[in-house]
Amino acid sequence: MELDPSAVQLLSEDGTFTEHPEYPLGLSDADIIGLYRRLILVRRADVEAINLQRQGYLKLWGPVFGQEAAQVGSAAALQPGDRAFPQGRQFGVGLTVGIDPAEMLSVWRGEIQGGGWSVEASGIALYTFPIGSQAPHAVGYGMALQRDQKNAAVIAYLGDGAFGTGDVHESLLWSALYKSPVVFFCENNQYALSNPVERSAPLPLFRRSEGFGLPGVQVDGNDVLGCYAVTARAARRARAGEGPTLVEALTYRIGPHTTSDDPDRYRKADEVATWRMRDPIIRMRDFVLGAGLVTRADLDAIDQEAEVCATAVRAACVADPAPVQPVQMFDHVYGTRPQHLEAERRAWLAFNEETQATS
């Protein structure tokens, strides 16, 4: 799938920057270098996660490879008080707002559910694995912010596949009706597991907004500056009480759906090769170097930092300093444990003591 003629692009494939009259960038040189740095960190940590999965330290991994610009650019537009509702692949969003990558991996180690980070401190809600079901949460959270006059924005991350669900469409409607301050950020990586977006969306996804009464815009999802500028503007609108926006970032999932997937069964190698050429990092590197924002030595230093980060992620996974205790499964089911559950917990403890004593 190719970009819509109306798509916003600040950084072209060859690294040329062009201002957009409606989407001013408004970033300092240091901010721009910061975006590049995050792209590199996310790419490197993602590769490390794939390796960790292969070596058995993670049960599963959903790679970000290829989608770094969409995640970093959009998340960089978040401000304190804003809230993001991720789907399941938004590792790069968490890293961009400064969550410890190891905390984002604990779910994939199979030790906890939802997420290992502080939602309040990070502003990132838990992963949502049932596709599309986080969209109404984002709308409702936005309604709460609005009632409390918080002037903050909510961003709902949605895959292209999520646009098959009723929840997402009902959320678009609600957001427009109640002017909930939501940015629906669709990371269109062109596949929902094996289903290509051409087979699930008869028209470009951003155009679905119109019928629900909210603006929609497509942005080049491999252009980190474009993703930032478009999200920042939508978030400003939301914070100012002007209502929701649907943003479609067109990108591509270079890797498998997850480490259990075999994409050769459903897509052609030359399509993947074409999109590899449109790598979001290469064009940004060309730009920051060409514009004289950084030297090669600066880039090397960033690569070095990414290595250190990857090493730390690996160490945290391998050491597993606080493995989860089985008896914790009985905690947090309710505020007060009901009789039947307390009885099960006691029986479980007694049974385990008994079997340990006899073995």
């Binding site: 779910v107 939802g114 049932p130 669900t165 929902a192 289903n195 089985p326 099960e344 479980w348």
Partner: protein
């Protein structure tokens, strides 16, 4: 040797060959062949006309199946994992299960909803549930769950030929189970339960993924000179209650095993039937073994959460020792 996946795949293929009105619909059921490969090769064999690789729209998958059934088709819907059937719960309980009743027999709903269920595969959240207790009590709905490849074949073909809607729970942990068997159809309306191993001291009841555990427990006790009868319930609704009542009346003891949490689980229905229909014969209170009454936990904890052989053995022991003073 035939795996569960091959048996189910063959059942789909044979049903589609036998009846051009059988359609498959689901997420990733096309070129990928489904995440468990149950539909492998079917899109190549039958074309996109009969194998619909759909968007992620579980509610509409079932709702559209209802409409297709009204139009004379026999849709087989695949849910990718157990808990993703929940968005379709309303269509199933409002419509699929009720059209025969509310049309006073004018309409039938020959729809099968295939649901891989159960845990023990180290999966992510929402990929390991055993939701049968949400569906079994729904009037008008049938609920099947095979425990072996050959049974899977026969039961799926029967479900597709049935004019009533069937929720077909497939024990996903056993997709790679192998059996030396022939794949043959059963007679229509054959009983929905079988004795998977005869015995006289206690009736151990399982279904789907717990049948293999019950059989292993039976072998374990055989070495101790205890004779256990294993009952495999492959239809939870309609329930073959006479086989259960007969067995428990003979043995006087019953233990039910399922992967779903015990509290409010289907085992409660079986225990209630044993208590009311076999009261005089009971030598010990019927017991249930199942998962803890918590949400399905993270994968690292699932072995502590699910009923394993050790907990089944413990329950059988407790039943056998009941009333014996040492």
């Amino acid at each position: 040797m035939t795996t569960f996946v091959t048996a189910l795949n063959t059942a789909l293929s044979d049903s589609m060959k036998a009846d051009p009105r059988v359609l498959l619909m689901g997420e990733d059921v096309g070129d990928l062949g489904g995440v468990f490969r149950v539909t492998d090769g079917l899109i190549a064999q039958f074309g996109e006309d009969r194998v619909l690789n759909t968007p992620i729209s579980e509610s509409t998958l079932v709702g559209a199946a209802v409409g297709l059934a009204m139009g004379g088709y026999r849709p087989v819907v695949e849910m990718q994992f157990d808990s993703f059937v929940y968005p379709a719960f309303a269509q199933i309980t409002w419509h699929l299960s009720r059209f025969r009743y509310r049309s006073r027999g004018q309409l039938t709903m020959p729809v099968v909803i295939r649901v891989p269920y159960g845990g023990n595969i180290g999966a992510a959240e929402h990929h390991s549930d055993s939701p049968e207790a949400y569906f079994v009590p729904t009037p008008g709905l049938k609920v099947f769950t095979p425990s072996t490849p050959s049974q899977g074949y026969a039961l799926l073909r029967e479900a597709i030929e049935d004019d009533d809607p069937v929720i077909f729970f497939e024990p996903k942990h056993d997709y790679w189970m192998k059996e030396d068997c022939e794949l043959t159809q059963r007679e229509p309306n054959a009983p929905g339960a079988r004795i998977a191993g005869e015995g006289s001291d206690l009736t151990l009841v399982g279904y789907g993924p717990t049948v293999k555990l019950c059989v292993a427990v039976r072998e374990y006790f055989a070495q101790e000179g205890v004779s256990i009868e294993v009952l495999d319930l492959f239809k939870l609704n309609p329930l073959e209650i006479n086989l259960l009542v007969g067995s428990v009346t003979r043995t006087g003891r019953m233990v039910v095993v399922h992967e779903a949490p015990v509290f409010g689980g289907f085992g409660g229905e079986l225990v209630a039937r044993a208590a009311s229909d076999c009261f005089a014969a009971l030598k010990a209170p019927p017991l249930r073994v199942g998962a803890m009454s918590t949400p399905y936990p993270a994968a690292a904890l699932e072995h502590e959460y699910l009923p394993g052989m050790d907990r089944i053995v413990d329950a059988v022991d407790a039943s056998l020792r009941y009333g014996v003073t040492t």
